[in-house]
């Protein structure tokens, strides 16, 4: 049984249904990438698993989220509060949404382990500084006393990661944790997250729109398109032999070494907004393989013999262009 298993999850926000039948699983020591373009539902997926949907006036309409044997969709808020921050930690794109600007960063990390692990001030401080050193923050004991504005973006994001780790969680959900950072800093943070998963055996859900980050860090990948899963598979297989036309097109959008000039084409059209989701397969207006059933019937997510899960009426139609 996976640590976290999401099945057939649909949500409702004021009558609109931005997520429709999402499913995935992640285990300890594993990195699951959730990838998709803007508006595909990545952040709402994270929010839903964290039990924060009521904050934006939404609710789970269908499906299940099981975390270590507990069903989260029906868990009362007081129980959820004991899980959040303690066993499931959240890292957002903008570190300032997690940091208090008028509080020293060290004290903010201390707070987490004092609240969730019941440590006293001294033990919490020692733990925080050890964590900061582990995250390779230079002169951790000094930075511990700094305020957020005294730190660079990369350092602030490391403080947020330290806060996420302070209660020794089993699952970390990181929503575009490096998108706002420069590439060299992004590379360091991605490397740190990978090391944490390998060393501590936590489960990590890494949400990103960057297929490069997915290829570098993840073990398994879920590709979302317009609130549905298009494809999910192991990282090697999904890059070597993507089966969904969207996955194939998405990979072809990224320049890579050896690509001939003029070969970068993009995907025609653009991602629809929730109000304009087309009937049938939501990708069909942009799809180069769409046929008769695509505009009418929703393709179910099916297991292929290869182990891939693909939602496409023509998933078995092999395409050569990507090879």
């Amino acid at each position: 049984m996976a640590l976290l298993a999401v099945r057939d999850l649909s949500i409702d926000i004021a009558g609109i249904k931005p997520l429709d039948g999402i499913g995935f699983a992640v285990d300890k020591g594993e990195i699951l990438g959730i990838v998709g373009e803007s508006g595909s539902g990545k952040s709402l997926t994270a929010l839903t698993v964290m039990g924060l949907l009521p904050l934006i006036g939404g609710r789970v309409a269908r499906g299940s989220i099981r975390f270590d044997g507990t069903e989260l969709t029906t868990l009362p808020e007081p129980d959820f509060r004991r899980l959040r921050g303690r066993r499931i930690a959240f890292i957002t794109q903008n570190p300032m949404t997690s940091l208090d600007p008028v509080m020293r960063v060290g004290a903010q990390i201390d707070q987490v382990s004092r609240l969730h692990l019941g440590l006293d001030a001294k033990a919490a401080q020692a733990r925080s500084i050890a964590l900061m050193e582990r995250l390779r923050l230079p002169s951790a004991a000094t930075v511990y006393h700094h305020y957020p504005h005294q730190l660079s973006g990369g350092m602030k994001q490391r403080i947020v990661i330290a806060m996420a780790l302070a209660a020794d969680p089993d699952l970390i959900i990181a929503d575009e944790p490096t998108t706002a950072l420069d590439v060299t800093i992004q590379a360091q943070i991605v490397q740190l997250l990978v090391e944490l998963v390998r060393d501590r055996g936590v489960a990590l859900i890494l949400i990103t729109h960057d297929m490069g980050v997915v290829a570098q860090a993840c073990d398994r990948v879920v590709v979302l398109y317009a609130g549905r899963v298009a494809e999910s598979h192991g990282v090697q297989a999904i890059f070597a032999a993507p089966r969904h036309p969207y996955t194939q097109a998405l990979i072809r959008c990224i320049p890579r070494d050896g690509m001939a000039p003029g070969s970068l084409a993009g995907i025609p059209g653009s991602v629809p907004s929730v109000a304009n989701y087309p009937a049938g397969c939501r990708f069909h207006p942009r799809c180069d393989r769409a046929g008769a059933p695509c505009a009418a019937t929703v393709p179910p997510l099916e297991h292929l013999p290869s182990g891939a899960e693909v939602a496409c009426h023509f998933a078995e139609t092999r395409e050569v262009a990507n090879a």
Partner: protein, 324 residues
């Protein structure tokens, strides 16, 4: 007729200093956003400028199109020193030199329709168009950027990000310029749309014989799209790669390449060596600005600024210990 010079733009010892004050009575601070940049932009080619946030890419772009006046040095466009032109002369030359911004529509009145936005450059230039000419221009420009004619009556908020960027490019093309400076034109777009825009830029360059200065923080994209790559770090050019796949010789370019993840899990990068943060542009260290993060830095690097030196192939690097 004589052959036109190989280089459309020649940049010599260009510098830009910004002075600012922290608070009303605070210390006066000065920052060199661009230092001593010497660079030639060959005709009909794509010259890429890459570097991380704050390294001076946008400042360089604005200096090159004279939206900013330099503190030092000069920019020659097709033999003309831009610094010597009157505003009036510059306005005329602006027809040949255009800039595309990250979100060009943010500068346009939200009450303008697409057609209004496309015709605005003609108003600015004082070109009178008859109603018929105006309609034809809008039709022509929309077709040029592969947008449907029905969009002419739309307002900005009705357009997607990719459509807005196409309108921005169409506006820049209104007077059939020779030279486009593109400042991160795809940075806020999804990859599927970024790829569409890059494909469009490739086609336009071939059709119209354009010269591009293409600015990006994405080395992967620049390596695909550009003929030459200029790498900047904290205001200075640290390397010029004469070909997009040339092997980096500056340790910073190497770091940038190691940090650029290929969409291929069989080519994972070993990034355990990467350390350090980018220094603040306000208190730059003496010597090489990259020294604090560089594995090869020694006393010389911390004491003196390495100058850009080119080999016969045009591969230029500013480093005391270039990689081989």
């Amino acid at each position: 007729m004589p052959e036109p010079a190989r280089d459309l733009v020649r940049i010599r010892a260009l510098g830009k200093r910004f002075d600012s004050r922290k608070g009303l009575f605070g210390k006066r601070r000065s920052l060199k956003a661009v230092s001593d940049v010497t660079l030639d932009i060959p005709r009909g080619k794509v010259t890429g400028v890459v570097g991380e946030s704050g390294c001076g890419k946008s400042t360089l772009a604005r200096l090159v199109v004279r939206l900013l006046r330099p503190s030092d040095g000069n920019v020659m466009f097709d033999g003309v020193d831009l610094g010597r032109l009157s505003n009036r002369e510059m306005r005329r030359l602006r027809r040949r030199i255009q800039m595309v911004f990250q979100d060009p529509y943010s500068a346009i009145d939200p009450r303008y329709t697409v057609a209004d936005a496309l015709l605005e450059p003609f108003q600015v230039q004082g070109t009178r168009l008859s109603a018929q000419q105006a309609r034809d221009k809008v039709t022509e420009l929309l077709a040029m950027v592969r947008l449907g004619q029905e969009l002419a009556r739309s307002y900005p908020h009705q357009l997607s990000g990719g459509q807005r960027q196409r309108i921005g490019i169409a506006r820049a093309l209104a007077f059939k310029p020779d030279f486009l400076v593109l400042d991160e034109p795809t940075a806020s777009l999804d990859v599927s749309i970024q790829a569409q825009i890059i494909a469009l830029l490739e086609q336009l360059k071939a059709e119209l014989g354009l010269t591009y200065l293409f600015i990006s923080h994405d080395l992967g994209l620049v390596r695909y799209f550009c003929d030459r790559i200029v790498v900047m770090y904290l205001g200075r050019v640290v390397e010029v790669l004469p070909a997009p796949r040339a092997k980096p010789r500056h340790p910073y370019t190497r770091t940038l390449l190691d940090s650029t993840f290929a969409p291929d899990p069989t080519q994972r990068r070993d990034i355990s060596r990467l350390t350090g943060e980018i220094a603040s542009a306000y208190d730059l260290p003496a010597g090489c600005a990259f020294a604090a993060r560089c594995a090869f830095a020694d006393e010389t690097c911390r004491a003196r600024v390495p100058l850009l030196a080119a080999d016969p192939d045009g591969h230029a690097v500013a480093c005391f210990h270039p990689l081989t």
